[in-house]
Symmetry: C2
Subunit: 202 residues, 2 copies
């Protein structure tokens, strides 16, 4: 029998949502290391026992938030990509890159927490590596498509190309999150897209 949502399930789902929302706010206010699970529980107006049914600790809760936020980046990465010319590929990649980096500005506060958490929690770092891998695999499909349709160089390994492309995006992502970027999103987008598409496409 499939699980159906009764009153009890609904309360449980709501508690989980409240814990996540509280975690989001508390992490942004105090940072990953200083935030405590007690603060989050208090803000979510629930008890310890109930909270621990949902999350084993703050690393755990943060990982769910990270998955959620990174999904919004992933939506951009997995936009349909079927260019019929080099110029179409350049236009699509330019748009994706711009959206990706603008999203970093949008999510700056929570991304800063993620950066701190990746640095200080092995569990969160592992999760980040897993997330990165899913982006690389998604990009690798796009590269393979462009290679198959004769638009892109076939002497380059599509997985390695994808990894390099994501590295470029990621380095600027963190720069933007840190506000250490010396260039605008438009300039960064132009620069990395030109290098990437110029190098990959015929």
């Amino acid at each position: 029998m499939s699980e159906h949502i009764d009153g009890r399930n609904l309360r449980s789902i709501n508690t989980r949502k409240r814990l996540l929302a509280a975690g989001y706010d508390i992490f942004i206010e105090f940072g990953f290391q200083k935030a405590t699970i007690s603060q989050i529980i208090k803000k979510a107006k629930t008890g310890y026992g109930t909270a621990y049914i949902h999350f084993s600790g703050k690393d755990d809760l943060l990982i769910v938030l990270m998955d959620d936020v990174m999904n919004r980046f992933y939506e951009i990465a997995k936009m349909s990509f079927e260019p019929t010319s080099k110029q179409e590929a350049i236009d699509m990649i330019t748009m994706q890159t711009r959206l990706f980096l603008e999203n970093a500005i949008q999510e700056q506060a929570i991304m800063q927490v993620f950066m701190e958490a990746i640095r200080h929690s092995d569990k969160v770092q592992e999760k980040w590596i897993e997330i990165r891998e899913s982006f690389v695999e998604q990009i690798a499909k796009d590269v393979a498509y462009a290679q198959k349709t004769g638009l892109a160089r076939t002497d380059l390994d599509n997985y390695l190309v994808a990894r390099n492309w994501f590295s470029l995006n990621e380095s600027h992502l963190w720069d933007i999150v840190n506000q250490t970027n010396k260039h605008s999103v438009a300039e960064i987008t132009h620069n990395i897209t030109a290098l990437y598409t110029g190098g990959l496409y015929y």
Copy 2:
């Protein structure tokens, strides 16, 4: 009057050298966090008072080692670069990239310590950012040269190009140090050089 090297200075220089050599070995054996300054002092056969004249702590000593090791990478980055054609540029950049990544294999044990230290010490992380900046500035000169001589696209900011190129190299550097690289140095070199030179050069 300029300082001359008398017996006392010579002893001091030798003590410093012994501390660095001892630090190198102890860090590789125990890692950055587990290594203690006492172990290093003992191995260097010197006293606390003398050691502290040279280094205020293990972060400080590690930073000198990092400077020293990274100088060997820097020697590669600052090789003379005056290509007269795109092909010459590709050949030179391919060689530099290969040497750079091979050097990462060579220095793998100490680089692993550096990676750990960058993660756990703000002082070391700051130093790493400073070192990265010096690489980017050196590369930016080469890019400017290629732009000035009409070989490279002038619509791209040379500093931003340099930063992107170093990012690509750095991401593979750490992959190699971690032994998480799924491709050989030859494959990585071919891939990143193709993207970079294909994107930048006419």
